[in-house]
């Protein structure tokens, strides 16, 4: 198993910067998820760990050894791809056995290893089929089996679930986490799906514009976002962000007034609060607006409120109902409020 260190990693193609100044240490057996919108540099970063892409600057270090000049095939990593990348001319058995053959694992041991990997991924009955005869979920499991079969130092998974439907995705998520814990292999996982990131990760690395925005446990990232990008990216619906002014501990924006904030702050700031930290009504409400939309989902009701020119999302009680355009007030949990600099978007503490 391995420790991975990315030190000052940059990737440029001519003038285009794909990844800038990525520094991170990944502990042995850790499950790290790179999360961000498409084009944020997360896949490129992973490909540099795999050796499929060469960093323009910086070092990829595994267990203290600089890997920059080492070929992908000589790094002990296994990768699962978004499109599965199963070899179409080979059966599933052959697909899973391929890495063992390439790494010259003794022939006598190959069969047992293939069968073990197939068992862990529930593919035993499909070993003699070609990839084209399998469903999406089965193909994904076959790709996973091919990755785990030779027990590599590092697993790299590039959006492995994005081609599956929601139900299957959830089942596979559990399976991936289970297998990772079982095999205790350092894992780097790339996704744009925050639910996957929150559920799988020991630590999440949020990327945007080629740079790391925040590194932290899922709880850190959710409760303590480092900037407006992270705040607006994580959560469903994400954190409400309202621009306004703060003076003497009081934040004011159109329709919103919050008191009791740190008195040292002044000027333009962004106020952030999560939809679930809001209560409709209350004795000293912070927000006044009109009902724009009510969406009951069964276990709760999504309430959209129009305040000034902006829409605010609130998670209300499941029994909550209201007529459109009626006046409504909302109280926030003051302990859960975040403030960000209006210009840089950075968190103010």
């Amino acid at each position: 198993m391995a420790r991975i260190e990315l030190s000052g990693i940059q990737k440029r193609w001519g003038k285009v910067v794909g990844v800038r100044d990525v520094d991170i240490e990944i502990a042995d057996e850790e499950f790290v998820v790179f999360l961000g919108p498409s084009g944020c540099g997360k896949t490129t970063t992973m490909r540099m760990i795999a050796g499929l892409e060469e960093p323009t600057e910086g070092e990829v270090i595994m267990d203290g050894e600089v890997m920059n000049d080492i070929d992908a095939r000589d790094r002990d990593v296994a990768m699962v791809f978004q499109g599965y990348a199963l070899y179409p001319n080979m059966t599933i058995y052959e697909n899973i056995r391929f890495p063992l053959r390439m790494r010259e694992v003794p022939k006598g041991e190959q069969d047992a290893l293939v069968r073990r990997a197939a068992e862990m991924t529930e593919l035993t009955d499909y070993l003699d089929r070609k990839p084209s005869a399998l469903s999406g979920g089965q193909r994904q499991r076959a790709a996973l089996a091919r990755a785990i079969v030779r027990q590599p130092q590092v697993f790299l998974m590039d959006e492995p679930l994005s081609n599956l439907d929601a139900k299957l995705r959830q089942a596979m998520r559990v399976q991936i986490k289970h297998i990772q814990r079982q095999l205790k292999v350092t894992t780097v996982y790339v996704t744009h799906d925050q639910i996957e990131a929150m559920t799988l990760a020991d630590r999440i690395v949020i990327m945007e514009g080629g740079a790391i925005q925040q590194i932290g446990t899922p709880d850190d990232i959710y409760n303590d976002p480092a900037n407006t990008f992270v705040a607006g990216f994580i959560g469903s619906p994400p954190m409400n962000l309202v621009e306004g002014a703060i003076d003497a501990g009081t934040f004011t924006a159109q329709g919103i007034e919050v008191t009791g904030l740190p008195a040292a702050l002044s000027g333009n700031v962004v106020l952030g609060f999560r939809p679930e930290d809001c209560t409709v009504g209350g004795n000293t409400p912070h927000l006044k607006g009109s009902v724009f939309g009510v969406e009951p989902t069964g276990d709760l009701t999504y309430l959209t409120i129009k305040v000034g020119g902006q829409q605010i999302e609130v998670k209300a009680d499941r029994a909550f109902r209201a007529e459109l355009d009626t006046e409504i007030t909302v109280t926030f949990d003051p302990a859960r409020i975040c403030l960000f600099d209006a210009k840089s978007g950075e968190r103010l503490r």
Binding site: G51, R73, N89
Partner: protein
């Protein structure tokens, strides 16, 4: 109501088959016509009144095999064609791999240059090639034909295989790399099996072009030692016996049959190969 619908459906199906059948007959007419010529006696070929139901005769069939070294021509054709296709594949597959997979300066120019060799009129290079082969002592040999056919077809065999390779997702190669495979292994175990239909298509098209090749064969093959079917066919039109139309028809048919069988067998891939990757398969 339902039976009426079924009836009109079967009627439209019959009509469709009738039209397609008619068209097929129209296209096959020349073939049927020279078959009919080939299997009739020489006396029934040129007549004042057309003979629609001629006497069946194998005269021409026996003649072409007994009086002419037909087996030799056939053997020359087969050797030269298969040899040329093998040479093409050995050269074209690595070239196509390089053109489709690596980025280097001038890659697209090299690709275009390879294709452009096909655009030249063969007559322009006929005389230089004749001297080249004469100086190399290769005139009048099957080996020379192999080389010539290979050279003529190499450009588009490369191009077709390249287009198939371009369609293979890059992920497959990345997966093979992280699985521990080197470039040659990837080519041999992953790419070639995945583009096998493309390789077959390119080979068949190369074979067809080679079977039909006439100019260079005539230039290089000066005796029956190196004659192929296409040149033999031309030789039938002259000689002391005068024009032997029924023999010509049969030889033409013999030259046509192998191509026909191969084309029918791979027709699904053929149209794809001919568009050279312009249309996704």
């Amino acid at each position: 109501m339902a039976s009426q619908r079924r009836k009109s459906r079967s009627e439209s199906l019959t009509l469709r088959y009738a039209i397609l059948g008619g068209w097929a007959l129209f296209c096959l007419m020349p073939v049927l016509w020279f078959l009919s010529i080939g299997f009739r006696p020489r006396t029934e070929i040129i007549t004042a009144q057309p003979i629609y139901w001629p006497t069946f005769s194998l005269d021409a069939f026996w003649m072409i095999f007994e009086d002419w070294p037909m087996w030799k021509y056939l053997r020359n054709s087969v050797l030269a064609i298969i040899g040329s296709v093998l040479i093409d594949l050995v050269l074209a597959i690595p070239a196509a791999y390089s053109l489709s997979r690596y980025t280097y300066r001038g890659r697209d120019d090299i690709g275009f240059y390879i294709l452009s060799t096909r655009m030249m009129a063969p007559a322009i290079v006929a005389i230089p090639i004749f001297f080249l082969f004469r100086n190399a002592g290769l005139l009048d040999s099957v080996w020379a034909l192999m080389l010539i056919y290979a050279a003529i077809n190499l450009s588009f065999v490369t191009w077709i295989i390249r287009s198939y390779m371009m369609d293979i997702p890059k992920e497959l190669e990345d997966a093979a790399k992280t699985d521990g495979a080197g470039d040659l292994r990837i080519l041999w175990e992953i790419i070639i099996p995945a583009i096998l239909p493309g390789i077959i298509t390119a080979s068949v098209i190369a074979m067809i072009f080679a079977i039909n090749e006439f100019l260079f064969t005539l230039l290089i093959a000066s005796t029956p030692n190196a004659y192929t079917m296409s040149v033999a066919l031309a030789n039938f039109t002259g000689g002391s016996d005068g024009l032997i139309y029924n023999a010509i028809a049969l030889v033409a048919f013999l030259a046509f049959v192998p191509v026909f069988i191969v084309v029918v067998a791979i027709q699904k891939h053929l149209s794809r190969g001919l568009t050279m990757g312009a249309v996704k398969g």
